[in-house]
């Protein structure tokens, strides 16, 4: 059982390593984006799927990291060892702050507070033109220069750069969700009251999960601003947060592969439909309706159903 899982992981990794050989540079860019958004979706799943916390403001931590890296590399220095950790620190710091407010509420109130807090950041990015460029965003963010034989400005090396972060993130998250801490999060999702009387400091677990989710969202935000070379307030707003939720739900909340898969599907569809950008949100809504109607436990749930295996 365990070796079969390991073999599957290894096979997936080999495929991801080999793919650049057969993809056009455009397709490779798309795949890079899928991996970045995959990290983002997995980070949200730690909250939604494991701790049962439906955040509708998760773009905040992605966006804060992206803006931090963008601003530092444009205005201070394009130094990976400074900019990247600073992006993570900002994402974790903002989630540590927002968590204090959001975790006072439960259920749909939690959802509304995370939404409101996220929109505050969107408002700052939108309004503070001298710092953030307002709705024009931050253009021409450079890719990091690392002491590697390959330049990250090229698609191929950059893809492997992102793949390394993706692999480390999924590995770290899979250890976390299987740890005593991660199992306790699932217990909290199922019954908070029960966990309290079993001796768990429920608030502390939720708070740490909230910060961890913000941190991994920061990894994605950092990578994205390098990838895209550009960040705008739309990466902080509710539509992006909702898209992330949809990636998780579409793929299958409470699994790590699911959200990564959901992210890939959403990125792919957005790319196909991007000719009609105005209608993209409509399509997102439609996907949401279809998923809740026909695949409430997501794509992973569908596959498991077919294979007849039990839910986790």
């Amino acid at each position: 059982m365990k070796t079969r899982v390991a073999v599957r992981w290894a096979a997936a990794l080999v495929v991801l390593i080999a793919l650049p050989a057969v993809l056009s540079s455009y397709q490779l860019g798309l795949l890079t984006k899928m991996l970045i958004f995959g990290i983002f979706a997995m980070s949200l799943d730690l909250l939604l799927g494991y701790a049962g916390l439906p955040s509708l403001g998760h773009a905040a931590y992605f966006g804060v990291a992206a803006y931090t890296v963008g601003l530092l590399s444009l205005r201070v220095a394009n130094n990976f060892w400074l900019d990247f950790p600073a992006g993570l620190a900002m994402a974790a710091g903002v989630s540590a702050l927002f968590g204090l407010f959001a975790l006072r509420a439960r259920g749909s109130y939690f959802l509304m507070i995370t939404l409101a807090l996220g929109q505050v950041l969107w408002g700052i990015a939108f309004g503070w033109r001298s710092l953030t460029g307002g709705d024009d965003g931050l253009p021409s963010v450079p890719r990091p220069r690392l002491p590697l034989p390959w330049a990250l400005t090229d698609g191929g090396p950059f893809y492997y750069f992102v793949l390394a972060f993706f692999a480390v993130s999924i590995l770290a998250l899979s250890v976390i969700v299987r740890s005593p801490f991660g199992r306790a999060l699932v217990g909290i999702r199922e019954s908070e009251r029960r966990m309290e009387v079993l001796g768990y400091d429920v608030w502390r677990y939720k708070y740490v999960a909230f910060i961890l989710a913000g941190l991994f969202a920061g990894v994605a935000g950092n990578l994205f601003v390098y990838f895209n070379g550009f960040v705008s307030p739309s990466y902080l707003n509710i539509v992006f947060s909702a898209a992330a939720l949809l990636m998780v739900i579409l793929g299958g909340a409470g699994t790590l592969v699911g959200p990564a898969l959901g992210a890939a599907v959403i990125v792919f569809l957005e790319n196909m439909i991007s000719a009609y950008m105005e209608r993209w949100v409509l399509v997102l809504g439609l996907i949401y309706v279809l998923v809740t109607l026909f695949a409430p436990s997501g794509l992973v749930g569908l596959v498991r159903q077919r294979l007849g295996s039990h839910p986790a």
Partner: protein, 249 residues
């Protein structure tokens, strides 16, 4: 030192006085039933003792320590456990997973996040030995929400026992069970370690009196009577309110 001591406890919900001036002392190893009609304040009392509600007035001592202001998880770590009247199990987790959570709750590893739980063999051993001891080993991979009501009650009791509590509060453990299930749950309670102090809320007076040493009767948020089983059985006031007979009957 008392296992549990409740002093001048009062609690109100808005205008409703749920508990007034309740005093209660339970010695280590003692088994006490708390009986009384619906709305007498029994479950409210448990919620205050476990820390889910904070009382309007009064003081609670657990094993000599004042816990009135401690949150529920701190009280649990001092050795307090409870079951719920309304099942609040982990419906989508397996029985083993649920018991593992209960075992892990008082273990120093409970906050570890850099190692998978499988690395802590002692947690699993403890969970499995609990399930074997209480006869649910063959159900350990069943999803809790799909168990029969009686089996869910057994899981409920095992979760409460997992941390080897010093004081255990049982809130109507046999409510809604068939006679056969009731008998098996009662048998389980009888087998609990005599070191565990037990407070039992029970609607079924026969079962309550059979399982405990002493009885406290709550009525409209006040202690109406307390004493040995025989004393309570023969108390005309208790008979009047508890059995629903008229005062002048």
């Amino acid at each position: 030192m008392m296992a549990l001591q409740i002093e001048r406890l009062s609690h109100s919900f808005g205008g409703l006085q749920a508990l007034s001036d309740v005093n209660l002392a339970v010695a280590p190893g003692e088994r006490l039933a708390i009986i009384g009609p619906n709305g007498a304040g029994k479950t409210t009392l448990f919620n205050i003792v476990t820390g889910i509600f904070r009382p309007s007035a009064g003081r609670i001592r657990l094993l000599g320590q004042d816990v009135t202001r401690l949150p529920p998880h701190r009280r649990a770590q001092l050795g307090l456990a409870r079951t719920f009247q309304i099942t609040t199990l982990f419906p989508r987790l397996t029985v083993l997973d649920s018991v593992l959570l209960a075992v892990q709750g008082l273990d120093p590893a409970r906050f570890t996040l850099h190692r998978p739980r499988e690395a802590y063999g002692h947690l699993r051993e403890r969970a499995e030995s609990l399930l074997t001891e209480w006869g649910l080993a063959d159900r350990c991979h069943a999803v809790t929400g799909r168990l029969s009501y009686g089996e869910q009650r057994q899981v409920e009791l095992i979760l409460a026992l997992a941390g080897a509590p010093k004081v255990l509060l049982l809130d109507e453990p046999t409510a809604g069970l068939s006679p056969a299930e009731t008998a098996s749950v009662a048998e389980m309670i009888r087998r609990f370690s005599r070191d565990t102090t037990i407070l039992l809320i029970e609607h079924d007076m026969d079962i309550a009196l059979e399982l405990v040493d002493r009885v406290t009767v709550l009525f409209q948020g006040r202690v109406l009577a307390e004493g040995t089983k025989d004393k309570i059985r023969s108390d005309p006031e208790v008979a009047a309110i508890y059995l629903g007979t008229d005062d002048d009957a």
